[in-house]
Structure formats: structure tokens, C-alpha cells
């Protein structure tokens, strides 16, 4: 099989046949997804994880009165939840984008291949 009739192998074929090359493609996606998840975890852990420490080290937050409730209590009752949704939403967008990029790469036709080289 040579000449114009031969279809060039695309990454999808390597994945489907579980070749060593396919394994490399998949590992790259896995690493990218894991990296994104860990980044989100560190950002989230940093924000929520710092909260007990901040409340512990800054006792003055108790003295600040917001709507009749000490700020130290309001801080753990309200803001964490919008933060969860925001972080989750940002992560979901990036993770879907990584998947989409992989899909493009894997099913890349000849004319599109250069973009990913």
C-alpha cells in the first residue's frame, strides 16, 4: 500500500489499537487533566484551608459586626459556597477544553495536523 490511496494513520488509530504511541497520547491527556485537577485542588485548598488559620490568627474579626453577626461567623457561613461553585465552574470549562483539544488532536485529518505539531 503506497501512494495516494493510503490513508495516513491518525492518533485515534493508535489509541484504538492500544499501541505504544497511543499510550503516549493518552498519558499526555491524563497528565494534563491531573495537573489541572491538582492546580484546582491547591487553589481551593489554599483558600478554604487558610480560613481556619486566618480566623485563628486574626481574633479581631470577631469584633467586626455585620448585620448583627460577627464577621468571623459570616465568613464561614456564606462565602465558601459561591466559591465552590465558581471553582467548580472554572475547572469544568478547562477540563472540557482539554478533552476537546485531545479529540481534535486524535481525529486530526492531514490538513489539520500541523496545528498540533
Amino acid at each position: 500500500m503506497s501512494g495516494d490511496g493510503a490513508r495516513r494513520r491518525i492518533p485515534r488509530d493508535e489509541l484504538a489499537e492500544a499501541t505504544a504511541l497511543g499510550d503516549v497520547y493518552l498519558r499526555r491527556l491524563r497528565r494534563a487533566q491531573l495537573g489541572l485537577s491538582l492546580l484546582a485542588l491547591v487553589a481551593f485548598g489554599g483558600l478554604i484551608g487558610a480560613l481556619p488559620l486566618v480566623l485563628f490568627l486574626v481574633p479581631g474579626l470577631r469584633e467586626i459586626d455585620v448585620l448583627g453577626v460577627p464577621l468571623s461567623i459570616l465568613l464561614i457561613v456564606v462565602p465558601p459556597y459561591p466559591l465552590f461553585v465558581t471553582m467548580g465552574w472554572l475547572y469544568q470549562r478547562r477540563a472540557d477544553a482539554l478533552d476537546a483539544a485531545f479529540r481534535d488532536l486524535a481525529s486530526a485529518r492531514e490538513d489539520r495536523e500541523d496545528r498540533f505539531r
Binding site: 489509541l15 493518552l26 487533566q33 481556619p52 488559620l53 461567623i73 461553585v85 475547572y91 479529540r103
Partner: protein, 588 residues
């Protein structure tokens, strides 16, 4: 009281109605997968939230806030944060793998049938421990609502849930649980807002945030004690029992009751043993130098709930009801929002309860504050209507979680355990349905029996135990199984055994020596995740590395976990592994 019974009946009837409607709807589709496609992310997210918000959330958070103080407010943060962890590390891969249960996942990922039994046994243990507090909550709530004995509530709810799951209502359970989520949000939010408006804000701020201990409200405090209660008087107080006057000195412990305890207005309320009487400014401290709010204990609580959520079996099976990986992610983001809306409100009950229902400090039954508060804060018809609303919400809470748990117990018993032990892993559909129904009834007997005899156990203890077990077994299994190619069967089993042993050992030892969670050593025993989870991870990695048999080839499994949809890879995978369809699981 009559209003409450009516409200509870309405919620129960509506749930049964939606359930039977859902069953009919699901029958028109040929298999589970197509039915799951009909579940949009919003419905699915409401169903997950409905299943997840248990009696521990609806009643327990406010009760713990009243009892322990503001440190309890870290609990819902950890509960919700666990969902973020699920989103980041588990949701999409688990959905893509197409596993129905953790036992399915474990066997498929490690290529070992033995792993299925290990994971199934762990599922039963965790779900059982989680089911008991639901039934306990049911007993307490039904007792509160009808005035009947505790056992009646437990048995009635156990029978209703077992029958509704066993008779095949699981197809409609997504719609029932989604409905129950909205019932719960409405039932916790509406009375909280109305009571705050009725009272014109938070009353008696000095008992909440100032120097005062909880005191008898205007008009005095009358507490009916059904049995003898050991109480401690944090300050000297005069009181009467059945009209006989008595006086207790500061710090004195007395046994009072059965009888009617009366305190005059302004008298400092005695507290049941096991509760710390704290003045408002200590009580309202989210983090403090010592006690349950010490930084180490707060972090321990956050880590335990955060990691534990990841391993709760009845939650994990829900991801299969999503059409694909990206939908699983979208659903989880919505769950974060729905949980957040709910968790804004229990704090209101805990705070108002400290002022308006201090008698719960005497009896130690702070878990009932959500049910008791409306009438105490607003005597008359208004309060009774609101009490009916919270009663309906509590009922929805333990019904939805208990049925979700029972479905996962019955599925595991009938398919993962029975299917293997009877040597017929691929039984006929009719057999499978029969096994499932028997398992639904059988799976309820043990938790109901435990709930009946454990009336005086703290409702939060078993939930903590279940969370610690989930965190120490399934959490490392899932994280390493999904993201680390080096995991072996021996490593997984050793890590799960080590995690389960250290978590359970810590809790049992804590019970045996009567450790209370107000000091560091005691808290690490009653809440061992901070130690047992790293131990489980380390054991899994170390034993896998030392495993002479090495790892199984994992390319296929990793492909099915991580490859995005739309490449035509998954169809080939599914055909090759010949997934069983028509399994009775917790989603349509």
C-alpha cells in the same frame, strides 16, 4: 401536631406518586442507559443533592451548632468540599468507565474478581453505618411529630422504605429524590426566613456572641423530663421539680427527673452531661485555642468530611445516571450550587435554638432543634404551620437518603455478593429482580435492629464513622485506581484493610476509653481520618510497589477512564466488556 402529620403525609404521598409515575415512564424505555439519557443535569443534580442531604444535614448540623458551637459550621463546608473533590478527580472518569458500583469499578480496573467481594463488603459496611443514623433520625422525628414512641418511627420508616425500594420504585427514584431536594430547601429556608422576620433579627445576642450562658426565656422554662437526666449547673441556680424547690451550687452535677423541671426567667440553664456550657463568645468562635474548635480538630473535621464524601457508595453510583463524562462534570457543579443554597440555613436554627429552646440543653436532644424551634419562637398557629413545614422536610431528608442507601445495599447484596456466591454472575433478569427485592428487605433488617437498640447514641457518631471508613478505603482506591497506573490488587486490598482497621480501631478505642472530642488525642480517636487516610494511601502505594506479580496491563482500563467521548473508542470498549444491562441500581 395534626398539621405536622398532614404535611408529612402529603410529602410521603407525593413521593410515592412521583415514584410510580417515574416507574411507568421508565418502563417505556428499553434499558437503563436510555433512561439515564433522559435525566438532564439539573434533575440529576437535584436528585444527588436530595439523596445527599440526610437527617445529619437537615437536623444534625443545627443540633451540633447548638451543642458544640460555631465549630460545627465547618461540617457543611467539608460536606460540600467533598463534592468539589469528586468533580476534580472522580466524576468524569468514573462515568466514562461505565461502572455501576465501586465493586464494579474495582473488579474492572484491577482485573480481579476477588476485589469485587472486598469492595462489596466495604460498601455494605459504609452504607449500613450510614443507614442507622437515618433510621434514628426517623425515629426521633416521627416521635416528635406524632408523640409516639421512638421504636414506632424507626419500624414504620424502615418498612416504608424497604417496601418502596423492594417493590421496584428505584426507576423513579431520581425524580422522587429531586422532588425531595426541593422539599428540603423549602422546608429549611422558609421557616428560617419567616422566624427571623417575626423575631426582628437575632434575639439575646449576649447569649450568642457575648458573655452569657443560655438562660430561661421570658415567662420561665418548663421542661418535661420523661426519665432521669444527669445535668450540670454551670452557675448557681434555684429550680423546682414537680413543684418542690431546690437549689444547686455553681458547677454542681445533679440527677433530675422524671418529672417537671421549672426554672424562673433569667436562670442559667443546666446542661446534660456531655455538653460543654459555654458563654456566647466562646460558643460563637469558629476556631479557638482549645476544645472542639481548636485548629487541629477543625482541620481534622474538614479532611474527614472532604475525603469521606468521595467514597460514599450511594453517591458514587449516581454518576452513572449522566449521559457522558462532560455531563457528569456539569451535574457536579450544579450539585455544589444546590448544596450551598441549603447549607445557608441550618445556622439560623442553631442560633435561634440556643436562645429560644434552651430546654434541649437539659435533655441533650439538640438534634431536634429544627423541629422544636418554630413553635417555641412563635407560639400559636404561625409556629405550628412552620413546624409542620420543617417536619415534612425532615421526613423527606431521611426518606430520600435511606432509600438511596438501601438501593445501593440491595444492589450490592443481590448482584456483587449473591451473584458471586451462588456461582451465577450472569443470572436471568427475572432472577435478578427477585434477588434484588429480597435483598432490599434483608438489607434493612440489620440497620433497623441496630437503630432500635442505639437510641442514646449520638446521631453524628455513626455518620462520622461511615465517613472515616469511606475516606480510608474507597477514597484511596478511587484516586489511585483512576490516576496511578502502578496500583495492584494486593496493594489495593492491603491499603483498604489498613485504612479500615485504623479508622475503626480509633473509633472503637475512643468509645472504649470514653474519649471526648474536645481534646486533641480524643478527637483523633473519634475522627481518625487525619491519620488513617494517609496510612491507607501509603500502604496502597508501598504494597503495590513491592508486589512481585507487578501490575496488570492497564491500557484498556485507562483508555475507558480517560479518553473523551466522540472518538468511537468507547463503543468498541463496551462491546468487548459485554456490560450487564438492566441492573437494579439507584438511578433510572
Amino acid at each position: 401536631m395534626t398539621l405536622s402529620i398532614i404535611a408529612v403525609s402529603i410529602v410521603a404521598t407525593a413521593a410515592i406518586g412521583i415514584g410510580s409515575w417515574g416507574v411507568r415512564l421508565a418502563r417505556t424505555t428499553s434499558d437503563l442507559f436510555v433512561a439515564s439519557r433522559a435525566v438532564t443535569p439539573w434533575w440529576n443534580a437535584a436528585a444527588i443533592s436530595g439523596e445527599y442531604l440526610s437527617a445529619a444535614s437537615f437536623l444534625g448540623v443545627a443540633g451540633l451548632l447548638m451543642k458544640l458551637g460555631a465549630a460545627a459550621l465547618w461540617l457543611p463546608i467539608g460536606f460540600t468540599g467533598g463534592y468539589l473533590a469528586l468533580l476534580l478527580f472522580v466524576a468524569a472518569p468514573l462515568r466514562r468507565m461505565g461502572a455501576y458500583t465501586i465493586a464494579d469499578f474495582a473488579e474492572a480496573r484491577l482485573g480481579s474478581p476477588g476485589m469485587r467481594l472486598v469492595a462489596a463488603a466495604t460498601t455494605l459496611l459504609i452504607a449500613g453505618f450510614y443507614l442507622v443514623p437515618q433510621l434514628k433520625g426517623a425515629g426521633i422525628a416521627v416521635g416528635e411529630i406524632t408523640g409516639g414512641p421512638y421504636a414506632v418511627g424507626v419500624v414504620a420508616v424502615a418498612v416504608i422504605v424497604a417496601l418502596s425500594v423492594g417493590l421496584g420504585g428505584m426507576r423513579g427514584i431520581t425524580y422522587v429524590q429531586a422532588f425531595q431536594y426541593w422539599v428540603k430547601v423549602f422546608a429549611i429556608a422558609l421557616p428560617a426566613c419567616i422566624l427571623l422576620i417575626h423575631l426582628g433579627g437575632l434575639p439575646a445576642k449576649s447569649a450568642l456572641f457575648g458573655r452569657d450562658l443560655p438562660t430561661a426565656p421570658a415567662g420561665g422554662l418548663v421542661v418535661e423530663l420523661e426519665r432521669e437526666h444527669e445535668v450540670r449547673f454551670p452557675r448557681a441556680a434555684a429550680y423546682t421539680v414537680d413543684g418542690v424547690p431546690a437549689r444547686a451550687e455553681r458547677g454542681e452535677t445533679r440527677s433530675i427527673g422524671p418529672g417537671t423541671l421549672e426554672l424562673e426567667e433569667g436562670t442559667t440553664v443546666p446542661v446534660a452531661t456531655g455538653i460543654d456550657a459555654e458563654p456566647g463568645d466562646d460558643w460563637s468562635r469558629p476556631v479557638a485555642e482549645d476544645g472542639p474548635a481548636s485548629p487541629l480538630l477543625v482541620y481534622s473535621l474538614l479532611v474527614a468530611t472532604f475525603l469521606g464524601t468521595m467514597g460514599l457508595p450511594h453517591i458514587l453510583v449516581r454518576f452513572y445516571t449522566n449521559p457522558d463524562g462532560p455531563a457528569a462534570r456539569r451535574t457536579t457543579v450544579r450539585v455544589l450550587g444546590l448544596l450551598g443554597v441549603f447549607y445557608l440555613f441550618p445556622v439560623v436554627y442553631g442560633m435561634l435554638g440556643r436562645v429560644m429552646t434552651p430546654e434541649l440543653y437539659v435533655t441533650g436532644e439538640t438534634d431536634t432543634v429544627v423541629l422544636r424551634l418554630p413553635v417555641a419562637a412563635w407560639p400559636g398557629l404561625g409556629g405550628e404551620i412552620l413546624a409542620a413545614v420543617t417536619a415534612a422536610g425532615a421526613f423527606a431528608a431521611f426518606m430520600s437518603t435511606a432509600s438511596g442507601l438501601l438501593v445501593s445495599v440491595a444492589g450490592t447484596l443481590s448482584f456483587d455478593v449473591w451473584g458471586r456466591l451462588s456461582g451465577r454472575p450472569r443470572p436471568r433478569r427475572a432472577d435478578r429482580r427477585r434477588w434484588f427485592r429480597i435483598a432490599a428487605v434483608a438489607g434493612m433488617i440489620v440497620p433497623a435492629a441496630i437503630a432500635l437498640v442505639s437510641r442514646d447514641l449520638d446521631i453524628s457518631l455513626l455518620v462520622g464513622w461511615a465517613f472515616a471508613l469511606a475516606a480510608s478505603t474507597f477514597c484511596p482506591l478511587l484516586l489511585l485506581g483512576i490516576w496511578w497506573t502502578g496500583l495492584t490488587t494486593r496493594g489495593a486490598v492491603a491499603g483498604m484493610a489498613g485504612g479500615a482497621t485504623s479508622a475503626t480501631g480509633g473509633i472503637l478505642l475512643g468509645l472504649a476509653i470514653g474519649a471526648d472530642d474536645t481534646d486533641v488525642a480524643g478527637a483523633l480517636l473519634t475522627q481518625p481520618a487525619l491519620v488513617s487516610v494517609p496510612l491507607a494511601f501509603a500502604t496502597m502505594v508501598a504494597v503495590s510497589r513491592l508486589d512481585l506479580r507487578g501490575t496488570q496491563p492497564t491500557e484498556g482500563q485507562l483508555l475507558s477512564l480517560h479518553a473523551p467521548e466522540g472518538l468511537g473508542l468507547r463503543a468498541r470498549q463496551a462491546a468487548a466488556s459485554a456490560e450487564p444491562v438492566e441492573l437494579p441500581r439507584s438511578g433510572p
